[in-house]
């Protein structure tokens, strides 16, 4: 049995770093299962209303700019890549490159939020924000309001997760600079990576479900 003075990163209640690492990994996955269900509640509400009010959802979706949505998808996928590289750098014990990859992830994350706020501002000007400014005039206005409510709650929850992720990076950066993470101990980086990938996955579903419903076809089959 290993003695506890081996590595300062080893917490007292674990026997060795392997146990500590595996526990952290598993705990994170259990937490992500929780996150899946959290967004899942929204997705199932979305599914119900999309089923009930498909026409309104199509109309609503056509008010969303595909360009910005697609660009944000690219930005977020790129950030998933950079954070994967950050984890790899941590695994290899390359502190400098770990730092750089985390910074690039942060830049991409901020870019995503920037684009999102352009879209939100645009919605505000068009009177499409339920609760704040909703002036849509159509027989289907009520149902459209429901579509936009889902749009804002879902993307808003997603953006909130991004903001938390950026906060986590701000918390990690000083530790990275202090050299707290080594090839033996990098669980916080890896777990942050898992979290960030999860946020990416949510967006991978949000994009087609919100932006790509019932567009006027250019190509007829």
């Amino acid at each position: 049995m290993s003695s506890h003075s081996e590595n300062p990163a080893l917490q007292h209640h674990f026997d060795d770093l392997k146990q500590q690492y595996e526990a952290a990994n598993m705990g994170m996955w259990a937490f992500l299962a929780q996150e899946i269900m959290f967004f899942g509640g929204l997705f199932s509400g979305y599914t119900v209303y999309r089923y009930k009010y498909l026409a309104a959802f199509i109309e609503g979706s056509n008010h969303l700019p595909i360009f910005w949505g697609a660009l944000n998808t690219v930005v977020l996928i790129a950030s998933s890549f950079t954070v994967a590289m950050a984890v790899r750098a941590a695994q290899l014990g390359r502190a400098k490159s770990l730092f750089n990859w985390i910074i690039s992830t942060m830049v991409l994350g901020v870019a995503f939020l920037g684009i999102k706020s352009i879209e939100y501002a645009d919605k505000y000007h068009h009177g499409l924000i339920p609760g704040a400014n909703f002036t849509y005039d159509s027989p289907m206005a009520g149902q459209l309001k429901i579509f936009f409510s889902f749009y804002f709650v879902m993307t808003g929850m997603h953006a909130l997760h991004m903001i938390i992720g950026i906060g986590l990076m701000i918390w990690l950066i000083p530790k990275i600079r202090r050299g707290a993470f080594t090839a033996e101990y990098y669980s916080p980086i890896e777990n942050f990576g898992l979290y960030w990938h999860f946020v990416d996955i949510v967006w991978i579903f949000l994009f087609p479900l919100l932006y790509l419903i019932g567009r006027e076809p250019w190509i007829q089959l």
């Binding site: 526990a23 929780q34 996150e35 409510s149």
Partner: protein, 562 residues
Amino acid sequence: MTTTSTTEAPSASGHHADHDVNYLNNEYGIKSWLLSLDHKRIGLLYLIMTTVFFVVGGIGAALIRIELMTPGGDLLEADTYNKMFTMHGVAMIFFFLIPSVPAVIGNFVLPIMIGAKDVAFPKLNLLSWYCYMVGGGLATFAIIAGGIDTGWTFYTPYSTTYANGYVSVALFGVFVNGFSGILTGVNFMTTVHKMRAPGMTWFRLPLFIWAQYATSLIMILGTPVVAITLLLVALERVFHIGIFDPALGGDPILFQHMFWFYSHPAVYIMIVPGFGVMSEVIACFSRKRIFGYSFVAFSSLAIAVLGFIVWGHHMFTTGQSIYAGMVFSFLTFLIAVPTAVKIFNWTATLYRGSVSMESPMLYAMGFMGLFLIGGLTGLFLSTMATDIHLHDTYFVVAHFHYVMVGGMVMAYLCGLHFWWPKMTGRMYSEVMAKTSAVLIFMGFNLTFFPQFVLGYLGMPRRYHVYPDEFQILHVASTAGATVLGIGYLVLFICLVSSLINGAKAGPNPWGAKGLEWMIESPPTPHNFHETPVVTFEAYAYEEEDTLLPVPGDGQTTGAVSH
């Protein structure tokens, strides 16, 4: 915190000869409690706060029962009455029963039972208590600032459009509290997977661990759904987003789907840990191995999974489709199977065991009878045709009190009596404890059995006035509640006075099996002086030579002989 305990760790074994150092006296001061990362101290923090909420909920119950003694509304106005049963339900369900066995008893014994020094994530464990405190604080604020009258179920469109008061604050409180459950679930699940001592294989685990594991599964996968649902209700109230608003085409029944997707599994959060306690106590006081260990173990998991596919039985009388009702009704019958498996296995364990009726066992017997009635009446309710008649009557009220109070509260008190000597190092008065068990059992039946009849006769729930002919049964119920209340009071006095003048408990007052009975009472800060090596099965009661099982290192055994 972490650094201090790390430096302490090696010296703990040096302290071994000094038996006076335990988790209660190794540090002093309020800070050493409020910032403690020790799972045992966090368990006690939960014990204190859940007791506070039990009292809050109890006050609500008392007022309700007094009001219902007469057919007219003389004590409370309609509105106040609504606020009282809401306060009662919210406090009892979210802030007492859900955290009771998992967060109090589970926190205390789970790591010890598997031979670990602590849970996998001690900081998350403390954070979960703070989530609970913040959530509880917000809910309490909502109650004090004017009360909420939606019922614990927060049904839309009532809660979104019509209800007065600080509904959003209460919702947010329940939302935050949800994360306490989620964190506990994540923690326990990881702990069971990764922190088991060498030799502690899955099938050597005490069944309490299996039950806690199944509960964690529900907490992790169910709680987030109610969290987001309640958040949507709050958004609906504040911003009128329309999702649950029929005026805009929103569907209030969607709320019920989402709410019960969590809340039916949540009733299993409230009972499965109690099943775990039962298995420990019944094995110990029958001096027998649990009959059909693996059946009992897997039935916990089966209940956890099946519990997620039956929620529609709460919605038979809503606009849910008949087809969906039939599906949910059928699935609900299925879940009675693993539940019955447990009851049969416990009964078979008792059979030809050397049963002794110490107070924990008395509570366990109470559980068996009461939960059986509660579960069986559940089957009446899951039959669509009968539920049309019984839905939203006192029959339902009686049903869920039989399972939640007769079942889970009995199980919780049973566990509390069982592990009390371990937690505090003190014995309580057997006479008083037995008295309280009997009073609670009798008072409970007198309170809730008449409610089955009332419901069958057509008394709806959540009304503060009723026709005269129901009065006699209501008076009986209130009389029972008085006995029940006295029972709880006796219990409270019994346990508190044990702290003051209880005899010192040895490491193993019940002659029970399991790692927690092989260490000092109260345990040392790190539970074990050295990680134990497990070479025996849970419930090895029948093998004489394992009466004092010898783990791999001498020191743990040393603890037993003191």
